[in-house]
């Protein structure tokens, strides 16, 4: 006889934090569009989507998440199919890429794909938790992340494509993967060494490989995996310049500008320097709501979506930016805490996936405005204007609430 799960009330703190962040988003959008009369009602549209999203949360949270997870693969398949379909349609009759017309609205197919991947991974890893010992054990999860990445890349959205693998790693780690593998998964970034000028870098790369070998000395790690990772790193090191040559010019420009903003001051560098100017000139307390000169005078591109953080930092200053980041951090912590208090590993997995989802968006959307990341278009979840991303984000919150409502102990 199964124990009926206790149904607790939804976590008020997480709700409050989500609400605060959404409200901040409305304030940010209103501020960023204040000087463009034709966009003045953007925040109202966002509010409308918010309402829809709230309904979504309720829908999602009502049904026990463990039950919902049974349909995770189905959901994943449908969303993935939709994404591929939109690509095919785009190829056929020049429809907008990545969008499917549903019920009269253009729906971003990539957004629900993120949530679907989280859920599918949660369902997949649930039986394997604790027994992930080698790459072979990770094969399907990695594929589960790789396919959406490829589809989204085909759609041309690099920013979103970067989201899937980190989510997958975080969830794998939560499911018991050896921490060292995390290092491996991120180490091909060392392929960057292939681009650094100077004769010493190949030598440094060699030392890095030796370091990897050393770190892998734990006997638990199978030899095959070690070889795969070494080969992978070497391969990345060699392939990197080739991949570079195949990059589109504007992507190249963005990367070069990230390294040196002066490189292309009127093109790709323009956005970055405008962003820095906007943020830097905000000072401690900012210029005031709707008083952002960079965003307001159209120097900042799309200040209600991609560069919304820059606009926020300009209007509210360091104080405001810190508050916003603090809110996000609390939010992420709360998600993780709910996951930690979860009844079973699935709740924890969902929490890990959702927090990583929000974190990667935060990392890229904020990082690029302050030149800690190259410029890549990606919305700041809950803040940036955009119905699809907002609803997806709220639905993700809904799932976390769901897990929290079914937990069997208090949240640490």
């Amino acid at each position: 006889m199964a124990n009926p799960p206790t149904l607790r009330s939804p976590d008020l703190l997480l709700l409050a934090l989500t609400g605060l962040l959404c409200a901040a988003g409305l304030v940010a959008i209103a501020g960023a569009t204040s000087s463009m009369p034709h966009l003045e009602s953007l925040w109202k549209t966002q509010l409308k989507w918010m309402g829809l999203g709230v309904v979504g949360i309720i829908v999602v949270a009502v049904i026990d998440y463990r039950h919902l997870l049974k349909y995770a693969f189905l959901f994943y398949g449908v969303v993935l199919g939709a994404a591929i379909l939109s690509e095919v349609l785009a190829g056929l009759h020049r429809g907008q890429r990545a969008l499917l017309p549903i019920l009269g609205h253009e729906v971003q197919t990539a957004e629900p794909l993120k949530l679907a991947t989280i859920l599918a991974l949660a369902a997949l890893l649930y039986p394997r938790a604790g027994s992930i010992r080698s790459l072979r054990d990770m094969d399907i999860p990695l594929v589960l992340a790789a396919v959406p990445t490829a589809v989204v890349l085909k759609q041309g959205d690099l920013g979103t494509a970067l989201v899937f693998f980190p989510i997958c790693f975080a969830m794998l780690y939560t499911a018991g993967m050896h921490g060292v593998y995390l290092l491996f998964f991120f180490s091909p970034l060392a392929a960057l060494m292939a681009f650094l000028p100077g004769p010493q870098w190949p030598f440094v790369f060699a030392v890095f490989l030796l370091f990897l070998l050393f770190v892998m000395r734990d006997r638990q790690i199978p030899w095959l995996d070690r070889i795969v990772f070494l080969a992978g790193n070497v391969g990345a090191y060699i392939m990197a310049p080739i991949v570079w040559n195949h990059l589109e010019d504007y992507r190249k420009a963005r990367l070069l500008v990230f390294v040196n903003p002066a490189f292309d001051a009127s093109g790709a560098g323009y956005h970055l320097s405008q962003s820095l100017i906007a943020i830097g000139s905000g000072g401690l307390l900012g210029k005031g709501w709707k008083q952002g000169t960079q965003g307001g005078l159209q120097f900042l591109p799309e200040p209600w979506t991609d560069f919304i953080f820059a606009n926020w930092a300009e209007e509210w200053g360091f104080a405001g930016a810190a508050v916003l980041l603090g809110l996000f951090l609390l939010f992420l912590w709360r998600v993780l805490a709910i996951g930690a208090g979860s009844r079973d590993i699935r709740g924890a997995l969902i929490a890990a996936g959702v927090s990583t989802l929000f974190a990667v968006h935060l990392l890229i959307a904020v990082g690029m405005t302050i030149r800690l990341m190259p410029i890549t278009g990606i919305p700041l979840l809950l803040i940036s204007y955009g119905g699809s991303s907002l609803i997806t984000a709220l639905a993700a919150v809904g799932f976390v609430l769901n897990a929290g409502m079914r937990r069997d102990k208090s949240i640490p």
């Binding site: 820095l276 100017i277 906007a278």
Partner: protein, 612 residues
């Protein structure tokens, strides 16, 4: 067996649960809690890094970015200052500004804006009666310059300006901009004196910090010499622009300071009359007041029209830059010199047989082809006679006796060999008479030529005028000037331009003698300058027929004079290139000029005594 154990308190470790699909599943989830915590720690680290970076940007470097932000969206726009006018002595405008209407089109971005731009160009072209295609092509050349409105038409007619204003709402982005344009109402009459303007050059930009590329600067004449008074100071406006250079608000404005007007000593009516008189004969006429050096008229023919530059020639102001042998008018200097050096007195007589010296240098009267009815020589003459009839032999003799050095010294005293200092640019030093080299290096035989103003001696008409004025005003060499006063835009005097002069050092008796001689030239029988006699006005003068360096060409005709004899008020110098005999050709011109002067200054408008 099917019992499900109670959940153990604590972490998710050792958790067993049943899911709805049946059957227990054993979950060994090693330290999921701890792992979540670790993930949390990484995220916290990320946020910390962000905060650190933000701290750097927003707190430490905020000034830097605030400056950049300001630069971003503010623009400093120059507000041009109205240039001062150039007036004659009665306030008549010789150089002025008038509004010119230029048409600009705001640039936009995108295909629609471009089409609109082309359409508007075509409309304008049709209004202006120009070929629409060519018009559009020319306008398109400016498109690459992203930061400026496109200037499509300059100085459109007033009616077109009105027509465009009426259609203003239709033609969005088309603007009529008023900009001041320099205009010269008197055209070619006073162009040498007033000057003209053109764009400032690159070297000038380097030297003068207060000029920007595209500025105009005075090039010749008063426009040039009083540039800093005329220019004023431009203002500045700071405006807010958006990313597409759309002007929004003005933040601050520094009003421009209009330039000062320059009032000249010139009488434009007299100037016009004199220009008419000399029309057709290359040469120069100067009318000057010997009491203070004020130039009342200065005409050089041929002239140019400053409103239509680039056409024709006539740029040289012959009055100040034309270099000619003075011929017999130089004898004024020689006479003064030999008197002062006591080589002769007024009564000293010498005999002129028509030639002089071993080389048998001829007196001009010797030439039988030209003067068939005259005797071969002048015969015996005193100084007055020699001067009055312009005998060369008398001056050969006395000049040689005096010596080249003394002649040279006196020449310098009379201002030869140096610029007169007139306040317009373009004066040329007289060739052949530079102070340091000069006459002292001439061969002994050349003193003869120098004494009568031939050979390597050359002067400008202005220098002759100054010399004459020095005799007229009893020995003060005045600095000639065109500028009289600097006035503010409201008419108040900002600064007077003061007369300057220096004493030549002539004794009373020398002055009396020279003045008497000059009187006789014009008013007494046998004087070479009888053609300029005017009843009631005691004109005193000297003729000159200067031999051109190519001796077969006609001589330059000179006449210099002052009037009236008692308390002289005017000096007139006439130089007609290759016109022939001074008395025959230059004299009558001077007479006409003097009559005109009388009209204006003794009986007419300019008959005011005080000029300050």
């Amino acid at each position: 067996m099917n019992e499900i154990p109670r959940q153990a308190p604590g972490s998710i470790q050792n958790l067993r649960t049943a899911d709805e699909s049946g059957g227990p599943r054993s979950m060994r989830a090693p330290m999921a809690e701890k792992r979540l915590a670790r993930i949390g720690a990484v995220l916290a680290l990320m946020v910390a890094v962000f905060l650190l970076r933000l701290w750097t940007l927003q707190l430490k470097q905020t000034e830097h970015y605030a400056d950049l932000a300001r630069e971003n969206f503010t623009r400093r726009v120059r507000v041009p200052a109205m240039r001062g006018a150039i007036l004659d002595r009665h306030g008549i405008r010789l150089a002025d500004n008038r509004p010119a209407y230029n048409v600009t089109i705001k640039r936009g971005s995108g295909r629609k804006a471009y089409r609109q731009f082309v359409e508007q160009c075509e409309i304008l072209a049709r209004h202006l009666g120009r070929d629409p295609e060519a018009f559009v092509e020319r306008a398109k050349l400016q498109l690459p310059d992203r930061f400026r409105d496109v200037l499509v038409a300059e100085d459109i007619p007033w009616e077109l300006m009105l027509a465009l204003e009426e259609r203003r709402l239709e033609l969005k982005g088309v603007q009529v901009v008023v900009s001041p344009r320099r205009v010269y109402p008197y055209g070619s009459t006073a162009s040498h004196l007033v000057g003209y303007m053109n764009e400032v050059s690159r070297t000038e930009l380097e030297q003068r910090q207060d000029y920007q590329p595209g500025d105009r600067i005075g090039r010749a004449g008063i426009e040039n010499s009083y540039e800093s008074d005329l220019r004023g100071r431009e203002g500045e406006e700071t405006i807010i622009v958006s990313a597409h250079e759309v002007q929004r608000d003005s933040i601050s404005r520094l009003e421009p300071v209009p330039g000062h007007d320059v009032r000249l000593t010139l009488d434009s009516e007299l100037q016009a009359s004199v220009a008419e008189i000399i029309e057709g004969s290359p040469g120069a006429v100067i009318v000057m007041d010997p009491r203070d050096g004020a130039i009342l008229a200065m005409v050089s023919y041929p002239s140019y029209n400053p409103d239509r530059l680039g056409v024709g020639h006539g740029f040289i102001n012959r009055a100040v830059a034309g270099v000619y042998p003075p011929g017999s008018v130089y004898k004024i200097l020689t006479t003064a010199a030999i008197l002062e050096e006591r080589v002769v007195s007024a009564r000293t007589e010498h005999f002129c047989p028509g030639y002089y010296g071993r080389s048998r240098k001829g007196c001009w009267i010797w030439d039988k082809r030209k003067y068939p009815n005259s005797p071969r020589g002048h015969g015996s003459l005193d100084l007055h006679g020699a001067f009055q009839r312009s005998c060369d032999v008398y001056f050969y003799k006395t000049g040689e006796a005096m010596g080249i050095q003394k002649l040279h010294d006196w020449a310098v005293r009379f201002g030869f060999g140096a610029p007169t200092g007139i306040d317009i640019p373009g004066e040329r030093l007289k060739l052949g008479n530079p102070p340091d080299v000069a006459l002292t290096q001439l061969q002994p035989g050349e003193i003869l030529n120098a004494s009568i103003g031939q050979g390597t001696v050359t002067t400008t008409p202005l220098q002759i005028a100054c010399m004459t004025a020095a005799i007229a005003n009893d020995g003060v060499l005045m600095r000639p000037r065109l500028g009289d006063a600097i006035l503010s835009a409201t008419g108040d005097v900002v600064r007077m331009i003061a007369p300057e002069g220096r004493d030549v050092g002539l004794s009373r008796s020398t002055l009396d003698t020279v003045q008497e001689s000059m009187y006789r030239v014009v008013n007494v029988l046998r004087g070479t300058g009888r053609t300029s006699e005017i009843a009631g006005l005691d004109v005193c003068g000297k003729t000159g027929s200067a031999q051109h360096e190519f001796a077969h060409l006609p001589t330059h005709a000179w006449f210099t004079c002052y009037a009236p004899r008692k308390n002289p008020e005017v000096v007139v110098v006439v130089l007609l290139e290759k016109a022939g005999h001074g008395g025959s050709h230059a004299g009558p011109v001077a007479r006409k000029v003097l009559l005109k002067w009388q009209e204006r200054f003794q009986h007419g408008e300019s008959a005011d005594v005080a000029k300050s």
